[in-house]
Chain length 340, copies 4
């Protein structure tokens, strides 16, 4: 941590800052510059001290600003865990060197719809079935999901087709029930900073797919992952699904493809990409899937529906079964990962 | 709702769209344009039909896009409720013609801290005491609040000073406990689209302060309010607290002052402003408080701390008691509201 | 164009709007809805009438808002020019079915630097040499380019290596001089809405590479292209180079990969991608190059420097010659375009 | 400047960085931390060295990132010019302690329109007349301004009403002609980083109003001011006019009111606010004008039109003469500035 003093700070101001750092058991080094003094902290700062100490220093007399030299997260950081994490579920792996595709409808609408989708995505090469039983919808008047009945269909369809399953959890008090029916719990983008939920799934022994909030910086996203990791659950999978767009004329969000190499460089966690929610329009989904594969993602989360035109949720962004099959063939040709 | 067809859509495409609308019991009018046909829906569309019908039409052959003529929310809309809503709590009103200031520390740290803050803000003219017992923090290593003990301090301090109280709820299962200790439940910005939480507070008979998510459009914010309103709880107070900034060099968020006249024009709900979280730096807070008052806000939510330099949370953005007192005098001079 | 009236608009309000449309020689159709009336314009609206008529209608009594059914640009639109445009320069083509790579240093620093870069990028498979003689820099104290001397080096290096050349124009009064030395004039992101410059290059008979402004919507970008096209110059190449990021911690901008399929669907103009400026960090450039190729871009603009560590401009984002060679081999493996 | 090394950097990496800094005649101090070494520069860094040295250090082996302790601009900074700058033109002052209002139509449309506007805004209390003769328009099909004829009307109307005048310059080669007709040259938001234009007006002896680009950070804006200042022209007036919005449903841009106290704290330059372009809707303009005055702005730039419904440009955001008169009375009541 570096404390940059104002150019008009007095020596007394500097001394008090140094003293305050020393009181925390840390070593301070004063660094006189041309225009101003900077004070560096030359010790390891315990994680629980970093945030309060930063806030404390920022308001002291003569302080201009405080710059962080180290990152705020540890368990999610590649610096302290250089090897890629691989999450294994029932023999399916997510993370290097595999490219793993999860596909299925946005919302589970009926047993028949899900069985058909599961069979088709399995045949096309998907390893996981996605489908929502509890749906977060912007409007209270939109379809909210089938609830527990949907979970039962999901379990049945996954087992029938030989696919692992992923579904969203919205209420921490549903955790056990959902974990009994699905293999991966998904934290949706709107809940990325719902800390009650993050803490709850952090205490479970079940993989968690953590979507990036559309307004979250990469550091905020990794800090949300840190919430789960520091409770003990180390099986966290990240999922990029688009950030706030400049305008919403053509796409709902802007898929941040550069998040893939950035996350790969600073974190060991696997990262999937969800181009369906990012685009909000199926016409753009295949191009974004190929871009994600080429950029080094560990897999995809794609919305596929047996009959998009009659979907109760997010129909415009769902691929038909035929388009998905073609897409999977294209991905095989372009994917940089060894195993698909 | 207007369905704009593509310029190369066939008459058959148009006919099928018209038929699909008619099947929903709605009247469709075809509007031939110079380049393309547009199809208008000439009936009232029930709220529960709007979202699924839009999604269905968007994916039909020949359709370019669907434009909404009416808004997606009803209960939050001024069109259907022309008179300003006023929320009354123990004789204190929020909403026209009063300007109501809620002040206090970001986090409740001790009984003494809160009692001192309560007494001072009351003396300066505040009507409500704010203070967090459950704190949503970006880092899992930061101070997370005192929990139930904090709630007891809040109730005691509010009663001692003669202030109503507001505190954040993060877990829907805490609702009853919090409602027993505080007068207004605050939904934080990170939870604006936590629908499990919105539904839960919608079923209570207690006022809710709904902060705008930093990435939420105004329509998304009003739809979040609609979640609460349509469950039966009509005492919703909006709170603008800053949207994602272009850069974070000087402020944490960008206070969207124009949201004040916009919300006043399209909704009847009262709107407060929280400049402390928006700025993240106390030096800019007084100017933003005065701007909010001048722009027509119904009040403020301001962080005030007896000793900002030792605050456990958000110290840099908290005003000292002295600065707050001066600010309240300035607001009296500039406020456009009749009563303060 | 659809004029949505307010729900409390009177019949007289509606009549006056209809009359105003009719006065412009256009046909208006009134569309009574459940809550409000909408008025559609059922004739082709001349381009020069659209903007002023929209503004005029928006302020009339009883009008809620005006929605555009058709797009504001014509010459850039695929609807009116369904076939992909291909720009040909000295036998090199940009646009389907070729994938064209332009590479070279950010700034031309010396004859030797440019000759070495040109030879190396040609050998690796690039078809065009990029290099700036006039550099737009955020700080007035940064290196501003070699000016006319740089242009002479560019011409010489391009001819020696057998590469076409592209360089930025910042002042419309330099147009002829630059056009004598380079094959493609680049309009930089900061000048995307410098209309004096757009008009000037629109009058020339030389291809123009139009970078997207970091804050520009796709429609604003295509309208900037329309400025050039409607002056008579039809050889416009678009270039996506990143939009404003949520934060600037890891990348300078967010590369908007979804702009590639969007532009392909609504416009016939070729689109290149510049991942170097978007990333601002060479570590992320290869992944973004591959993503752009996989998403269907027509080519790349990549910064390559013989000695990045001593570059006078944008060294951190420049690839070394060796990395670029490896990248070109990877692109050959992944590119969806037929010819490279 | 602080160079943060990677946690796995070798001592040799550190030594080479120190050596490179020393070669520039600067003093380097190594600061060993708990996890990584940081290297500080303990001398004044000449402005022309900062940018290239930063870029050079960022790409050296073992370097994680480079943090700036000092700011990139000098002449625009309050640190080196603690007293508020005041720009005086023909006896009218802009900057503390005066609040100065410039008003008038977006575009000059006719002699009569401008004469009427000038007389009315003068009577209501404005000190300056604004009006565009050269109009930057997003669409090439929109009205582009009257050009030189408009300039003559502006000069005549300003003199007749006793108002100073401000008008936009889009082409640096028009500078002399415009300076002969107007008192203040305006650089529009789209041209904030048109460096050819900034350099040209920097060489003139005429005040310049520099609008903030909608995507520009405050540092980028002050660096654009620095371009003008370092050419010798010290009469720069800043103008905030809104940044990119989260959505464009209700306003065209988001007025960044917090930019006012931020600029006041870091710079000595006067700052005006243009709520008309920010809002894009006259209904929200008065509230934003009052907010700007309350937040400490030095004045306003407001669009006023004798007949907004027939305006050729930006009619929806122009105030009528009557509304403007009422607004000026309200500002008198709320303005924190001594003199209006």
């Amino acid at each position: 941590m570096i404390v940059a003093m104002r150019s008009d700070a007095s020596q007394a101001d500097v001394d008090v800052v140094v003293q305050r750092i020393t009181e925390h058991g840390l070593k301070a080094i004063s660094l006189p510059g041309g225009e101003r003094v900077a004070i560096g902290i030359a010790s390891t700062i315990p994680p629980e001290v970093r945030a309060p100490l930063t806030e404390l220093l920022e308001v002291m007399p003569g302080v201009d600003h405080v710059a962080q030299v180290s990152r705020a997260y540890k368990l999610a950081s590649r610096e302290f865990h250089p090897v890629d994490s691989v999450v294994e579920i029932k023999g399916i792996t997510i993370g290097a060197p595999t490219f793993t595709v999860a596909a299925g409808p946005c919302a589970i609408e009926s047993r028949d719809q899900l069985m058909r989708a599961a069979e088709a995505v399995k045949k096309a090469g998907a390893k996981a079935l996605r489908g929502g039983a509890f749906k977060p919808r912007t409007s209270p008047y939109a379809f909210q999901g089938l609830g527990p009945k949907g979970l039962r269909y999901l379990k049945e369809a996954g087992e029938a087709a030989g696919l692992i399953t992923v579904t969203e959890i919205m209420d921490q008090h549903d955790a056990e029930m959902i974990a009994e029916h699905a293999d991966i719990l998904q934290i949706g983008a709107r809940n990325m900073q719902n800390y009650a939920l993050l803490n709850a799934v952090g205490l479970l022994d079940v993989p968690v797919l953590l979507k990036r909030g559309p307004g979250a910086t990469i550091d905020e996203w990794l800090l949300a992952a840190e919430y789960i990791l520091c409770q003990g659950n180390r099986r966290v999978i990240l999922c990029e699904r688009g950030v706030h767009p400049l305008d919403r004329t053509y796409t709902r969000y802007t898929l941040d493809v550069s998040a893939i190499p950035v996350v790969k460089s600073i974190s060991h966690l696997p990262i999937l990409v969800d181009p369906s929610h990012a685009a909000g329009n199926r016409a753009y989904v295949p191009a974004l899937c190929l871009a994600a594969a080429a950029a080094g993602a560990d897999g995809l989360l794609v919305e596929v529906h047996p009959d998009p035109a009659s979907a109760l949720c997010d129909g415009p962004q769902s691929l038909s079964l035929g388009t998905f099959e073609t897409l999977m063939q294209d991905i095989r040709a372009f994917c940089r990962k060894k195993r698909l």
